[in-house]
Assembly symmetry: C3
Homo-oligomer: 200 residues x 3
């Protein structure tokens, strides 16, 4: 298993985890838990691929990811209830920040390969990073958290995407710029979260 | 008119009917009634075709179905008001269960023809069967019923899709397995509904 | 700048403006303001292009429109707060009616060029005209205004689309029928709004 695959799976698990938590809050049943987790984990990338007209979709190529979420759904509610005091908020935020960074940079690089102009590519990166959570909140009948809590989240993704675009422009090797910018997004998110920095 | 066409039209009418009922509850106007009914009847199949990148869409090939819903929208509200005591809940549940079975199995077989792996194909079946109702509830600003009421609904569709996949795998003729699995979904839904069986 | 481009930009600005207003009402942050404005301005056309499988999308070809909305988002909240008494409701309704007419007729003509049957083409026109607002309201956790307030809005778009289709059928030059039907939608909307006419 390569490092990329490892982080990809981690990002999906984190997405699913936040879906499990939201579905539990809404007192959903087993089916609701699976669907909300699935949408949270894959919604952003799926929307990006639909906008780019790219097929097959990510989770169609890797049906093992969908199966993984289905299996986890079966055990999510009891485990989450039991682990409540062992799963600190801090850990979830860290994992989520890793997912935000990775998904966003995969999104911007996919869009760039598909020939998108740079501003659109940066938007595709942000869409990939945040729209899983937006769809989760819409289906759970909430105003999406990312649109209203004032904490830098999409803004971190946006800044990191432009860091990636700038590094590509000046000729930095693709692998290196991918990792640096993804981790920069994660770092920006964690620093602003820890410092409780808010936008106006 | 073949039996398939007859059941297809029945499934669409049932979808539209549940859209009419929901739109009336939300006190929507004529346009709202049409749009909600349309989304309920065609939303699941449309999402499936977008995910599979399949065109033209089902309702584009059959514009008579869209016209039918438009005409019904004009008379839906007065008729629903008048027929309140003549349209028992039981009848709606039976028709809806028929629609769930038919749409789900059409969905899984379409996905299989499009070369999807089996688990993804079963998910496409469930998506086709339930997402019309999910979209109806999202646009009506409700947490989707199918995600939270604990009654086996998506689970029946999922089980029936796997029955279809298994019968295809062992070489049962396609037409026969289609009908048996679609009716099995309908039967599972009706039995669990009548027995008030709920998932955890 | 041609008249078409001018009206196109005007329609986008009006869509964005109604997104800014809604996002402010929901106390969204900067990111929310941008995303809601973007979805309102481009949601209808994007959904139409996805349903027609048409790429590249409108706003991908014109990334300057997306940049424009991003820049306006930065100044929208303070300007809207300051201009509250200088931006009468009447002006917004007029601009929005212009946008409705233009978007709807562009939608129906795009669908017709893509080979859609006429009733579907008229629906694509209405979708293009109204679904930006529908998505804005869904993401802001409201039942979409256009589905429930009883004022002729989608109905005006629908009537204008059929006027365009009829003029195309009898051989009226395309440019002329486009302008006449777009302005007719605008006029119908304004007259019914001014007269407070409501559907049942």
């Amino acid at each position: 298993m390569t490092l990329t695959t490892f982080l990809e799976v981690l990002a999906i698990l984190v997405g699913a985890l936040s879906g499990f938590a939201e579905a539990r809050n809404k007192r959903m049943d087993l089916v609701g838990v699976f669907i909300v987790a699935f949408i949270t984990a894959f919604g952003g990338g799926t929307l990006r691929d639909i906008l780019l007209d790219k097929r097959p979709l990510f989770w169609v190529l890797h049906q093992e990811y969908a199966i993984l979420i289905a299996v986890l759904s079966l055990i999510a509610t009891p485990v989450l209830n039991a682990s409540h005091k062992f799963l600190p908020q801090r850990l979830i935020v860290i994992a989520d920040a890793l997912g935000l960074g990775l998904f966003s940079i995969v999104g911007v690089s996919t869009a760039l390969e598909a020939g998108m102009p740079v501003f659109i590519a940066s938007m595709m990166g942000v869409i990939t990073g945040i729209f899983g959570g937006v769809m989760r909140d819409v289906i759970c009948n909430e105003v999406p958290m990312v649109l209203r809590d004032g904490r830098p989240y999409a803004v971190c993704a946006f800044a990191g995407c432009w860091m990636y675009l700038a590094m590509q422009y000046v000729g930095v090797p693709s692998d290196f710029s991918l990792w640096v910018s993804a981790l920069s997004i994660t770092a920006m998110r964690l620093v602003t979260w820890a410092g409780d920095i808010r936008l106006g």
